[in-house]
Assembly symmetry: C2
């Protein structure tokens, strides 16, 4: 069998005599691609053999040869590089591909039908949905037999170029849409809004309850709201919608279900079964999403009712599933998800943490918005220094601010290990409020509302419950997999307050495990980023499915162990102080 050497790549492979050079390149994994199925149409697979440029798909291997792959023939690479974590490269290979097609005009001798003519040129038995079939004859002739076509899998979804795709992150609270250039991989524009479904309920459970109470109409309403929401974000992009040809969606399991109009009721009750973890690929027109009607639209796959595609997006973004080192991923939010593992295995769990760190159920809590205090420090002089988003008078404190405040109160001994205020430490700021003691963080004269911004013992209890749930989940996951926290090389932080929290303070209050702060890496909105990766790379889309399959899910709601851990974690930083050696008490 002749030997093919790819010089620059340092790879070589033996192939059957007569095999195409393209197939040899694919087998040797040198990254050579053909967009036209090896028919010599796209001219993407140019290589040099003995200094002469040929198309790999049209060249057959008859004897040993040496091949150079010029830079222009290598797949385009999307570089993923975010502050603080390793760069990795992703091959640009979007699920929808557009390219020009050169057809020969028919005549009496070559009288193939239009569809067969396109199939012959592509060398594939492509399918035509009704709309492209109906305009095919006139379009081919109008374009003088040189149409642009857009392919999704084996389907001609448009007889024009598709330039953009949309990566959508459907959060329970916030929806973020990114317009992505499919050729360059760049995000062109981003738009976000509050999830309009919030009018039917603040959190996942209340949305599910809304759909249960209102039956089929309820499900329809929730679906209509998120679709309207999506369409209005897309309209902000001011782009020709027919040129937007695919959409990838990240979101928790329930948000995905509501987007598709599925009944999410069974997610609520034991054994918490979703209709679909991978609901498959649907079309924009069938869901009412106002882009190219045949656009494929898919979801990052879920793992369970309370472990959704958003977290699979986190994993994909972190790249932990491809690394040798053991790492942990923590996605914080009303529901917290923890993942542990490496390229060989992945285990995960989810817990209901409560909305405290998102500003819910805390008297002065607000979302991370203009006017929110995002950083707080209490000085030795008992003075409170803070930073407000937008540099305006504060309206309240958001999650990162609450973590700071709780940590500062604790290290300044204004609050004890049980979360109780120690009045004598600062009698001016600690007062008796309607529901127990409270601490005046910002006096009324300095707040935007003219009212004191205060922090009560009840608020502390809520925050303790939230941090205890998160921490107990990490502990339970470590125990169940037989690892110690010191085995963990990296901890990726995703979700709600992802980029903003002070890790050190989060460790002090016992929210995050006490390991070297340098090991923590913020990955930002992994759901949106993961959706973008899958939109741009069919390989990443397949990886996301593999991640979901590989994840061993540990159900905490029935684990006694979790409740024990939870109770032990209801202290600052923890009952077992040895778990937090760096925190001096």
């Amino acid at each position: 069998m002749p030997l093919v050497k790819f010089i620059d790549e340092g790879k070589e492979i033996k192939v059957k005599r007569g095999e195409t050079l393209l197939n040899a390149a694919i087998a040797a994994d040198v990254g050579l691609v053909s967009e036209c199925g090896g028919r010599g149409i796209c001219k993407r697979c140019r290589v040099k053999v003995n200094g002469e440029e040929v198309l790999a798909c049209q060249t057959r291997v008859e004897r040993d040869i040496e091949v150079e792959v010029p830079e222009k023939s290598k797949p385009k690479i999307l570089k993923i590089l975010e502050k603080g974590y390793e760069e990795y490269r992703v091959e640009l290979n979007p699920i929808v591909k557009s390219f020009p097609l050169q057809l020969k005009a028919p005549n009496l001798e070559d009288n193939l039908a239009d569809t067969e003519r396109v199939r012959r040129a592509l060398g594939r038995q492509v399918k035509f949905p009704l709309d492209t079939l109906r305009c095919l004859a006139s379009e081919l002739r109008k374009k003088n037999w040189n149409p642009d076509i857009s392919l999704f899998e084996d389907e001609v979804i448009a007889l024009k170029n598709v330039d953009y795709g949309i990566a959508l992150d459907v959060g329970t609270t916030t929806v973020v849409a990114s317009l992505v250039d499919l050729k360059s991989g760049k995000t062109v524009k981003t738009a976000s809004s509050i999830n309009k479904q919030i009018s039917c309920g603040e959190d996942i459970l209340s949305r599910i309850m809304y759909s249960e109470e209102n039956g089929e109409e309820g499900i329809k309403t929730l679906q209509r709201l998120i679709i309207e929401n999506t369409n209005s974000l897309i309209s902000e992009f001011e782009v020709d919608r027919k040129r937007v040809g695919c959409m990838a969606i990240g979101g928790n399991t329930t948000m995905g279900h509501l987007f598709l109009g599925l009944d999410s009721k069974y997610i609520r009750y034991e054994p918490y079964i979703p209709t679909a973890n991978d609901p498959g690929i649907h079309r924009a027109k069938d869901l009412g999403v106002d882009i190219l009607p045949n656009s494929p639209l898919f979801f990052l796959p879920n793992r369970a009712g309370y472990f959704g595609g958003d977290v699979v997006g986190d994993i994909l973004t972190s790249d932990m599933h491809r690394r040798e080192e053991i790492s942990m991923l923590i996605d914080t939010g009303t529901n917290g998800e923890i993942v542990l593992g490496n390229r060989d295995w992945l285990a995960c769990c989810a817990c209901s943490a409560g909305p405290a760190f998102e500003g819910g159920e805390v008297a002065c809590g607000v979302r991370a918005m203009r006017g929110a205090i995002e950083r707080i420090k209490i000085g030795r002089d008992s003075k409170v220094r803070y930073k407000v988003i937008g540099d305006v008078k504060p309206i309240g404190i958001c999650g990162s601010g609450l973590i700071d405040l709780m940590a500062e109160l604790f290290i300044n001994k204004l609050v004890g290990r049980r979360g109780e205020f120690i009045t004598e430490a600062d009698p001016e700021r600690i007062r008796e409020g309607e529901e127990g003691k409270e601490y005046i963080a910002v006096p009324r004269e300095k707040s935007a509302s003219g009212k004191d911004i205060f922090f009560s013992e009840a608020d502390i209890k809520n925050l303790l419950r939230t941090k205890a749930a998160m921490y107990a989940a990490t502990r339970t996951l470590l125990r169940n997999t037989g690892f110690m926290i010191d085995d963990v090389e990296k901890i990726y932080i995703a979700g709600g307050f992802g980029n903003y929290i002070n890790i050190r303070n989060a460790i002090i209050i016992g929210l995050l495990p006490d390991i070297d702060v340098e090991k923590y890496i913020f990955i930002g909105n992994g759901s949106a980023q993961g959706a973008k990766l899958c939109l741009l790379s069919d390989g990443k889309r397949k990886e996301s499915a593999e991640i979901a399959k590989k994840l061993a899910y540990i159900e905490l709601s029935v684990a006694n162990e979790f409740f024990d851990e939870f109770n032990s974690a209801m202290f600052i930083p923890h009952t077992d102080i040895e778990l937090f050696p760096s925190v001096v008490i």
Copy 2:
């Protein structure tokens, strides 16, 4: 490698150790099937190994074994047996399959999502369209995890049984629908009507012209009419439409285009290019056909603009494409199609024959309907004897009657070889009419209208043109393939007057080649029958695609040879009398 012997089938095959017995059976082509993808669910692949009954899909081959395949495990066979042609057997394997599924109820340990649970049971990555996805959760629970499902390829098209399919023959003039039981292969009911599009034009060309004149609206109108037509035929079946789950359609290229709403304009002009020869599989809901919304709906594939799926259906029905002997197929009608070949090759052509044999362009011509004279004989006593459909007073003469009449006039020397009347042969019946001589076939007192039913020299000219076109086409096809008529073992007659004509008379007038009458076989409506075959057997559907691919198409409209042949055939029976040795002049 162990050897597997299938005793009754007399087949044996070596397989890899550990291979399933089902795969061995498939490789040995013993006709064993699994409907559940080899997951042991459908229990269809029961076999006996050493006298013990096992499921072939669950049994692995570890050593040489002998296998019996009991009768119940063999595929059901649909026998195709029509008067006069050989029986052949078709494996019942409809494109939509329904079967019950037994799922395990989920629990906290086995918490797969509903879709994944179904996929696991099927052992296949099936897809769920939105509607089945939306009702999946409630349906599984309502049925206590034992749902019925219907699969088309890798898609769950319904969560219920599908019992029926529809075979539709869309003729330019007549539409015939058959309700077919997918389990037994039997036709349960049949309904037919005039093609409602006839209000927009009688024949193919006038329909295309209608769409050209009225643009997009014209195409929409034609499509609406045929869909309404189809739905009203289906409504005659009085069956639960949700239980009708697939449809196969036979029709000429233009009728197929109009059914799909495609622009058929380019079929009219050289080089006569259709949008699609194989337009692919579409869904009932997308076309407005009122059966199960996800029902796959497909067409017998066309070969060219004037050689449609109806004739591919004829070929499939005749089985000529699988026989060793050379045979010819003639589909008569306004457009005539001729096929020549055997299992190794197929050649074909089409000609515009004109509507004379369908009762058009002939003064006394009518369609084969109640009141039409279908048989005529002229006695030695010059008396005309005839048979009327429905045994009523005649209203006119249909195709088979016209062939008889022309032949009888010729052999009784009332008409000469050029088609001219010989008045002195019967001066009572032959008279001078408005447009030349005419022959009184039925005097006014015996006709339904009270007017003479007569046959003019102009009518004869029209019939001569039609028969000359048909005959010239057969001659040109033979010449182009290098065959003589004596090489042809069988001639299959399909289409318009298919079952009714007197072959001998058709030979006398030079319409059909002069070979042994015993070699002629009527196959009836091959379009409807071919559609039924494809509906019931995925194998036949694939065969139909292979037929279309294999057909070498000879374009007559540019063949000088054809025009020469045509002119030579404008005599009775022909200029070259040696071509008709059995016809004594």
